[in-house]
């Protein structure tokens, strides 16, 4: 008898619960529904896009689309352009990002707080705002042309490079700064005692310690640049890149098969770089110790001034480009009549303010549904182990490798098919919300898992021993610790849904328009000031959400932080 009992429990792995049916049902439900949703709204659409890439224009199945890549000169060209612009953006962002991160973490330059705040600005707006801002400054109707009469051509490689750098740089800075912050002052003290000078310490300690941070920043920047649609759509002009090419193939030429092939071509570098980034970040943060002593920079006037100058200059540009858009939205006729007005907010073309309300609704749905599903999934995976846990984890972190355009396109294939019951979702705001949620699933899931790991297991066990059931465990042990995390995930999903463009571009209809798409359409139609006004509204909403989140998280964080004091 004992032998068989041993067998079954071993198979179940080191379960933390003695068989208690109610609890196990709960865990099972927590796992089942989010996983089912992941399969339906992520894995299945992705599978259909793979399938579609083999469907030829005449309806037959084969490798024709892949074979056609080489005979489509535009595609090869776009692929090459994408690679060039992404690699150069990555190089610039890693170098500048390291300089700024180093300045913020290791020097005593002035105004660090203001710099950090400015760095958040690009995250508040759709990615096409950088392109829009550049047009306002350097475009044919830009400030520079107006003042100097120079004929600059900002459309093309240089404009795209600039707007991508300004869009991606903040993320590079944050990643590298996290890596720098991870170091320990004792390494430097030990090196000083052994007689190492400043440069020696830099090359022997600082650089090796943040090399994974640099690597990781490089891959993140590369991924977001090669998959970015917004800035490319606004400023690339005739400089074709893969992201705009997908859109042209599908929306322009109705060539779905070819569109999905380009999507899969885009998927490959994105997935690869996400994988490498994951591996390297694990190496980087695996070595972090709890008891580290943070490095405190000592003032060095010359160095501080140099880093201050670089950081202020670059971050001024990052911020200015967003601020210019906001400012332009209040200007009568940029740049000819700079008097202020609110008339740009009087949007009377297309559907007026409806897209804003739709976007708000979609974002709230995405945030509510997303945070509930992610909470359940994180709670469930914490209570299982072994192969099923690993499989669910893998599925849950996969979406980050799928570019928004590919997500959106795959949704068309999966849901615009009257022969399946999923067709019910097609053309609804709910589907856009789900698409946005799964587009940002990974980041939300990882945050939730980190929060869940911070819930002390011993506290849950104390409640069990004192006679409390699952409800007690949830309300008294899990929620007090995880509430700030749930809140952060909620606002993260909300803010991303508000600004994302690439995933929703394929899902909008004239009746169901999203704000970021409206910005693009307004810009394309020449209503640049209205486009700026729309962007300003998005920025204001997202900024308000960010402030609300900070305040709420501060209130909800358990005071256990006092222990460290």
């Amino acid at each position: 008898m004992s032998a068989t009992a041993a067998m079954t429990t071993t198979n179940r792995g080191p379960g933390r619960f003695v068989p208690r049916s109610a609890e196990q049902w709960l865990v099972a439900a927590c796992l089942f529904f989010p996983t089912l949703a992941l399969v339906l709204f992520f894995a299945y659409p992705l599978a259909t896009i793979f399938w579609q890439s083999f469907v030829l224009k005449d309806g037959s199945v084969g490798l024709g689309n892949y074979a056609a890549i080489s005979s489509t000169p535009g595609l090869i060209n776009a692929g090459w352009n994408s690679l060039v612009v992404s690699l150069s953006t990555t190089a610039v962002c890693v170098v500048l990002g390291f300089a700024i991160a180093y300045g913020l973490d290791r020097t005593c330059m002035r105004g660090k707080k203001a710099l950090r705040g400015t760095l958040l600005l690009p995250l508040l707006a759709p990615s096409l705002v950088q392109g829009l801002g550049l047009l306002f400054i350097l475009g044919r109707n830009g400030l520079v042309h107006q003042w100097t009469g120079w004929d600059l051509n900002i459309y093309g490689y240089s404009g795209l490079l600039l707007s991508d750098v300004f869009y991606a740089l903040p993320q590079a800075v944050m990643i590298i700064q996290a890596a720098l912050r991870n170091s320990d002052a004792r390494y430097y003290d030990a090196a000083s005692v052994m007689g190492a000078g400043g440069w020696r310490k830099f090359f022997d300690i600082t650089l090796p310690n943040c090399k994974f941070g640099l690597l990781s920043a490089g891959f993140v920047v590369f991924t977001i640049t090669i998959t970015d649609f917004g800035n490319a759509a606004v400023i690339a002009g005739n400089y074709r890149v893969l992201a705009t090419e997908i859109f042209n193939q599908v929306s322009g030429q109705q060539n779905f098969g070819m569109g999905s092939v380009v999507g899969i071509v885009l998927l490959a570098p994105a997935l690869l770089s996400v994988y490498i980034e994951r591996v390297s970040s694990q190496k980087q943060f695996g070595s972090a110790s709890e008891s580290r002593i943070p490095v405190q920079p000592a003032p060095a006037p010359a160095r501080d001034r140099v880093f201050g100058l670089i950081s202020w200059l670059v971050i001024f540009c990052v911020g200015a480009i967003v601020v210019v858009v906001v400012f332009a939205s209040f200007v009568k006729l940029w740049p000819y009549n700079m008097s202020l007005t609110l008339s740009n907010f009087n949007v009377n073309i297309s559907s007026g303010y409806k897209p804003i309300w739709t976007t708000l609704y979609v974002s709230i749905v995405a945030a509510v549904v997303g945070s509930v599903l992610l909470f359940c999934l994180a709670f469930g995976t914490k209570h299982i182990s072994g192969a099923p846990a690993k499989a669910i984890y893998l599925l849950a972190v996969l979406p980050v490798g799928v570019p928004g355009l590919v997500m959106g396109l795959s949704y068309i294939f999966a849901f615009n098919d009257p022969s399946t019951p999923l067709y019910l979702f097609y053309g609804t705001a709910i589907l856009i919300a789900l698409c946005n949620f799964y587009h940002y699933h990974t980041q939300g899931f990882l945050t939730m898992m980190t929060g869940m790991r911070a819930v002390p297991q011993a506290l849950e066990e104390v409640i069990s021993c004192l006679g409390g059931g699952t409800r007690r465990v949830l309300t008294d042990a899990v929620l007090p610790f995880i509430a700030p995390t749930v809140l952060a995930v909620f606002f993260f999903l909300f803010m991303r849904s508000m600004v994302t463009l690439s995933a929703v571009i394929f899902l909008v209809t004239p009746d169901l328009d999203m704000a970021s798409v409206s910005v693009m359409h307004l810009n394309q139609a020449g209503f640049v000031s209205q486009a700026a006004a729309f962007s300003t509204i998005i920025i204001v909403v997202v900024a308000a959400a960010l402030i609300a989140m900070k305040l709420l998280v501060m209130r909800l964080t358990p005071q256990a932080g006092g222990e460290a004091a």
Binding site: A6, S464, R472, Q559
Partner: protein, 335 residues
């Protein structure tokens, strides 16, 4: 109230965490599960608590089989090393938590909480939050919380390991007093042999998922059964059979029968007498002064001895020494 542990085993994948554990925890008894990390002591405690399902075997508490009883219905109290207090509740709310779960009336809860805070000597801190307390105070609250529900058995999982030395000593005395007063059977997991020797009525010394020896603190220290116990509890000089035959054949008298490799002689450092004598076989290697006693390292025929004496003996390194081992104060242990 007695707890019987019968043939309990537990396996994590291919790793055997517990291998056929049998143990009886008697009424009012304070039992320490002692062993190095990874020996299975915490696994056993968690199985007893019902936080982990056992691979095989049986737990019988007061004649009732616990296999199908979940943790929340066992009525045991538990204290972890990581205080595990509710960060959002005051000291009083923490202590009264179990009673509130049970649905006791507010008056009853308040009265009981006051009693327990009195017991752990911190009634004046009732309205503080955990983060306003020191580690020792937090652990007292955790203990009070476990005791509040009148548990039928108390489980302590390395409750003192996170505390600094002085507080740990105070808490040891306190846990000892409280347990003797309330007479609730208690099982404590520890890797600290000193703690086990001081607190336990019965020590269960574990190694690699098996019980090496069960006995009183005196049993374990004076009559260790295995080489592992002799080594883990206190300091031992372990002498091979061949060495004893060559240098002290008189001590062979108590040796059980068996091949040479099966048994070693265990001699505690304080049970060896040193005598300076010219031409004696032992050579003094070094002396360490430890305040009330001195520790000597002596080499004799390839064997390093550790000897401790209270007397202030003045000896030079390299001095020739004779060592005398009292045959009544050493014993043969299984290797």
């Amino acid at each position: 109230m007695t707890l019987e542990i019968k043939n309990v085993s537990k396996q994590f994948d291919s790793f055997v965490a517990l291998d056929d554990i049998n143990l009886l925890v008697g009424e009012h008894e304070f039992v320490c599960l002692l062993g190095p990390s990874g020996c299975g002591k915490t696994t056993l405690l968690r199985i007893i608590a019902g936080l982990l399902d056992m691979g095989g075997g049986q737990l019988v508490f007061n004649g009732r089989d616990l296999s199908a009883v979940p943790a929340r219905e066992r009525g045991f109290g538990i204290v972890f090393q990581s205080y595990s207090l509710f960060p959002n509740m005051t000291v009083a709310q923490n202590v009264g938590y179990g009673l509130r779960i049970r649905g006791d009336a507010k008056g009853t809860v308040d009265k009981r909480v006051a009693e327990l805070l009195e017991l752990v000597k911190m009634p004046h801190l009732a309205s503080r939050f955990p983060w306003q307390l020191s580690g020792g105070q937090q652990q007292r609250v955790a203990l009070a919380r476990a005791l509040a529900v009148d548990p039928r058995l108390i489980l302590l999982d390395e409750p003192l390991s996170a505390l600094d030395a002085r507080v740990r000593n105070e808490m040891r005395v306190e846990i000892h007093d409280v347990q003797r007063r309330l007479k609730i059977p208690t099982i404590m997991v520890t890797h600290d042999q000193e703690e086990a020797l001081m607190l336990a009525d019965k020590i269960v010394c574990m190694n690699e998922g098996r019980i090496e020896q069960v006995g009183t603190p005196q049993d374990l220290y004076l009559r260790p059964a295995t080489r592992f116990v002799a080594d883990f509890v206190g300091v031992s000089n372990l002498l091979g059979t061949a060495w004893v035959r060559r240098n002290a054949p008189g001590l062979l008298a108590g040796r059980p029968d068996g091949p040479d490799g099966d048994f070693e002689l265990c001699v505690r450092p304080e049970n060896i007498t040193l005598q300076a004598a010219a031409g004696a076989p032992g050579h003094l290697n070094s002396v360490t002064f430890l305040g009330n006693l001195s520790r000597f390292r002596v080499d004799w025929d390839g064997q390093r001895f550790i000897v401790e004496c209270h007397a202030q003996v003045r000896l030079e390194s390299g001095a020739a020494l004779s060592l005398r081992i009292d045959p009544d104060r050493c014993n043969w242990v299984h290797t």
